[in-house]
């Protein structure tokens, strides 16, 4: 008799399981959509090539120019930070100015920063380097840019040294943005 009792129990369990499987079909159903939004940052350099120019007066001023950029950023709500930095990844070609080995002491490639909120621009004039990233902008916790991005700019100043040979010189500057 116990065998038949077992059979009956198993049959009932199958019916229950079958009913459970079919129960997921109904006239309506719900789904929970989930999305995890993390810290993120990106930037675009809007001035593809920045020309540094000097005034017409002989050695009356340094070479200057401006590089514009657009950034997007989202930092962590609590304790998050963000930065924009730059580094001269390829120095000027030989015979002219040089970031790493200037022909005269005191020759520099310097820049100042301007950035719209939520960023804060670097303070004062910064000296660009080929070895160390230097500050352009910083961001605090829960910083959120506009959907289309916010803007900033870097104003360059390159020493006008008579020691430079005439010619056109090019350097490459790498901008990096990060967020935590």
């Amino acid at each position: 008799m116990s065998r038949y009792a077992t059979l009956v129990v198993l049959t009932c369990m199958m019916l229950v399981l079958t009913g459970t499987a079919q129960a997921q079909f109904g006239p309506s159903g719900t789904t929970t959509l989930s999305v995890n939004v993390g810290a993120e940052a990106a930037l675009r350099i809007d001035t593809g090539t920045t020309s540094l120019t000097a005034p017409d007066t002989a050695f009356g001023g340094d070479y200057t120019g401006t590089t514009n950029y657009t950034y997007k950023i989202r930092t962590t709500k609590t304790g998050g930070t963000g930065t924009i930095q730059l580094k001269v990844s390829a120095d000027f070609n030989a015979g002219g100015p040089s970031v790493a080995s200037p022909p005269s002491a005191g020759d520099t490639l310097q820049y100042t920063c301007s950035v719209t909120a939520p960023g804060s621009g670097c303070t004062g004039a910064q000296t660009a380097s080929t070895s160390t990233p230097t500050a352009v902008a910083t961001f605090g916790a829960d910083a959120k840019s506009a959907k289309a991005g916010n803007t900033g700019s870097v104003g360059w100043t390159l020493t006008n040294d008579p020691a430079y040979s005439t010619g056109t010189y090019t350097a490459t500057v790498l901008f990096t943005i990060s967020a935590t």
Binding site: F25, P27, G29, S34, V35, V37, G38, R74, K77
Partner: protein
Amino acid sequence: MQSYAHMTATTLVGSLRQPWLALLAMAATPVCTSLASTATATQSLNALIYPIAKLSVPATVALSAGATRFSSFTGSAAVSYRLRTTPSGGGNITLQVTSDFTPAGGPSAGSGALTYTCAGATIGTSCSGTQTASTTVQTPVLTLPASACTGGGGACSSQDPNSVTLSFTVPDDPGYATGSYSARLTFVISAT
């Protein structure tokens, strides 16, 4: 012949040790008896088949960030359904955001942040183009034709259940605060 059948059944009952088998044999006796005579009868069977439709959706759908920064979050879900429509009927599947993304500070379906496309319906016509999910109205997923039915082949579909795939998109707006957000969608199927 009838008495022989009764005797046989009685003998069997008497020889059975299991009480339930004895009851079964006794119950079968009238059947055996009826086999002894021949008769014909007709009976009309009327089946009233109603239109019906049911669906099943995954409990959760995770939206993932794109490969490039600030590209949209995307995810897909297969909606399974079974249906039967009348020759003059049809049906549809719709969805509505019944609970917007929470907590606050992230995407908002109420602001049009959740869009979707529909594809691959094994019966019916998928929604056209990109739909914007709403918290206030039902938006289309699928339109079901007349005289449609799930499974069994022939006039019905060979697939059982039928399915349609939805692809969801939420823009990765820098204005969203970091965190995890979830919203609830309710799908409804109807058939006539």
